[in-house]
Symmetry: C3
Subunit: 347 residues, 3 copies
């Protein structure tokens, strides 16, 4: 169901699945509070362990339900004791009859690919619309790295960040970048999907690639980002010694998935997987730290300063000087704008 | 006199007496700054010890007078030295003549029932409109407990909180509640006064009643709240061993009086009195801590979260699901709305 | 060049020189971020050491350039590596051609009288409009005291503060004031310049004058403030033993120069010079501390409280009760208002 908020004028696609959490964030006896599309949500598990999402607001006096308790999948308001199940239905009114007004808006959720997906649109919630991220499930657990990083920037700025990886040369010069600006780059758009590729032959690999091509060897590096609306990005990387054939074993695939919290705040989910060193716990931990640190100390401060500098103005209204490197990001933005307009016309 | 503020559109009754302070809060040589109905006020005593209230703003350059000094009941602005008495009249202009423009708006105040009462309306300030709280004066000082607790919530949310004491079972389960939800409840309205009663026969008393009915005895408990506009609430409680006659000695009466600071902030004054253990300093101190802790750690966080969840929207505009327990609070709100409308039509 | 901001409706003169910094604040290899007239600016030195001022915002994706690096006077954006010189011209685009869109707005600056002056208007930036402050250059370095004190108050409140020094008797009673209220005061206006004078014959000098007239001697004190638009104030002070002739050697001259940061925030620059004890490092340090402490602990808190009390309302719209002591400040405000209106009509 849809609940109107002051930000409905915001540029959000509503008829789509957003990632609300990683499944491991949901305990069996606690709440996860998360604001998505400016709506305060309560995520929890029912008695059977199934994930649920309801509005974090009691319909009686609007106390946040997260200030109450949960037991056996039943949420009880901490103010006057009304209790609700995972569908938002009132299951106990200690003060009288359970009327139809006594319900909390709930939202369809699906557990898939280690994540919790939520539908906040008016249209039918068809799980087949959830992006296919089976590469995560296919990867041994020991080679997965999960991240959840809230960021005070509009979700489209986070999309732009991944769609233009040339930034790695300037923002991450000591870890991830160095060869992106000089890479052979191509952008293509097909069926609402935007793909950007970077090919760096015979380059000096940055530290993040040492495990595939240790120094002092030179490397051939291939990188690909595939964007799908609203902000689901798959980043594939691979490297071999310069001049040798590509090897599937040397590849890594990372999900970057961004869910709008509000107009200038986002939930940034990532999951890194790889085909090498899949059982190496120490390497997994080292790589997790490298990725998290790069984002927390380099991307996040830059994105948040960029947001502060832009205020709440739309990017294009500020007339940015567009460069070649913006090709992918601009295409993605245009597709998304068109989808949002179509949704507005239909709705 | 009235001074217009940006919040005059707020839902406030103006032609009524508001409690501005407890008398013990006013020293003989200091200021008390307090914002009421969004106006910054300066409360102090004149040379004779009489309480005074003037706007906390010099008419010359609008410096807050509280940044200056007070001596012998004369307030001197700390910026350019203009001095004012308790009526707001300028009594010294070091720089020239005292003109009629050199005055600070002042407000009628009355000291009564251990409190300072202020009139901020345009109508005549008739002290007979001050609520009769002589039960406070009649109670020995050793059995009084005063409280002043500023709260970041609209004053009507604090009224609702007292008008519906069923919340004690959920918010204060280990101290005050347990038998409210199952109590026989009645609500009546008469001459603009709303009374709610809860009768709990043969119940297990909560710790706050142990001094009247110690465990393991069961108790008969009677509780009554009387509301008068704008937000003056008298809470009477009593308990005897189950099945025995009511005893006046076993009664306590508490004032809960809420004065709007701004639209989402309030001054919450309370005064607890009782007819038992009136000379027991240790009991007085223990009970004071229990009441203060219950509010600070349970009511106040819930009220402030509720306010944050509601934003500045009017309660009814959010279409709350009303329950039986809301009967008293809703009647009080309707009476108050009518009084505010009548005042607006008259003024 | 001019860049429009949300505050262009603010009461600012644009076609004039504002002090942006003291020259010693600009290092040879760093940035100085400073917001002036609500525009975020980046101040730095080019390869030749010349001061430069450009907008602190990359034209590509609006990242603040201060989040990047500077080397040899070239500023490089830390996000995607675009590089700009002191004129705002792009000198390196690692990703393609340098187009005309790739430039950052720059602002004329002039180094003069130990300060950096910036022109943010649409008109011609004629350096002859910079106020003549050669008294600073003429004073031995050992007798100069520089100050930079950001203040959360509108720049005109800081002007008012200096134009009405009677405040020293109330705000600085133990250091600077005592004889101002009783001084013979005169105000004159000529060619857009406002001069206020205070003459205190045979007075008890405050501690700030002890070096000229030590206690228990009585003093003749002369003080003069000359205001020029927008907020350049020269404060001259002098003192001799009561009844003896004026002596030039006993004079001090202080610049008070206020540059608007935003509507309720200012950059306050001061520079104190004197003709006595010019080589006394200990005295210089003591006097610097006295002036800085007086502002930080007395003026600044009062100005910021005054601003908070006024909100963003214009002073005259609040109908202040004007006193004799306001004569100079009111004339200065009227001249400034007329200049801003003339500029608006012309532009």
């Amino acid at each position: 169901m849809t609940v109107e908020t002051p930000s409905d004028k915001a540029s959000w696609l509503r008829n789509c699945w957003y990632q609300a959490a990683w499944l491991h964030e949901l305990s069996t006896d606690g709440f996860l509070e998360r604001t998505i599309l400016d709506l305060p949500l309560l995520l929890f598990r029912d008695a059977d362990g199934a994930s649920k999402a309801i509005l974090n607001r009691c319909p009686h006096r609007f106390a946040p339900l997260s200030a109450g308790t949960i037991k056996g999948g039943i949420v009880r308001c901490g103010y006057h004791g009304l209790a609700f199940d995972g569908s938002g239905r009132c299951v106990d009114n200690p003060h009288g009859a359970i009327t139809s007004a006594l319900c909390v808006p709930s939202f369809p959720v699906v557990e898939r690919h280690q994540g919790l997906w939520i539908w906040m649109g008016a249209g039918a919630a068809d799980p087949s619309g959830i992006p296919n991220l089976s590469f995560i499930d296919a990867c041994p657990q020991t080679a997965r790295i999960y991240g959840y990083l809230p960021t005070a920037a509009n979700y489209q700025l986070l999309t732009d960040n991944i769609m233009d990886l040339s930034h790695a040369d300037y923002l991450h010069p000591t870890s991830l970048g160095g060869m992106m600006t000089t890479a052979k780059t191509s952008t293509k758009e097909q069926n609402g999907e935007v793909t950007v590729e970077w090919l760096s032959d015979n380059c000096c690999p940055p530290p993040a690639f040492y495990s595939m091509v240790p120094p002092p060897s030179r490397a051939d590096i291939w990188i690909q980002v595939i964007w799908n609306a609203p902000a689901v990005l798959l980043l594939g990387t691979g490297a071999t010694e310069a001049g040798t054939p590509r090897s599937l074993i040397n590849e890594a695939a990372t999900l970057h998935n961004i869910t709008p919290a509000g107009v200038t705040s986002s939930h940034y989910f990532f999951c890194s997987t790889r085909k090498f060193k899949v059982d190496d716990a120490q390497f997994n931990s080292m790589l997790g730290e490298l990725l998290t640190n790069a984002f927390l100390t380099e991307d996040k401060p830059m994105l948040e300063k960029q947001q502060a500098s832009m205020g709440t103005a739309d990017l294009f209204s500020l007339k940015p000087a567009l460069l070649n490197i913006d090709a992918g990001a601009v295409r993605a933005r245009r597709i998304l704008t068109r989808l949002i307009e179509l949704e507005a016309q239909a709705g």
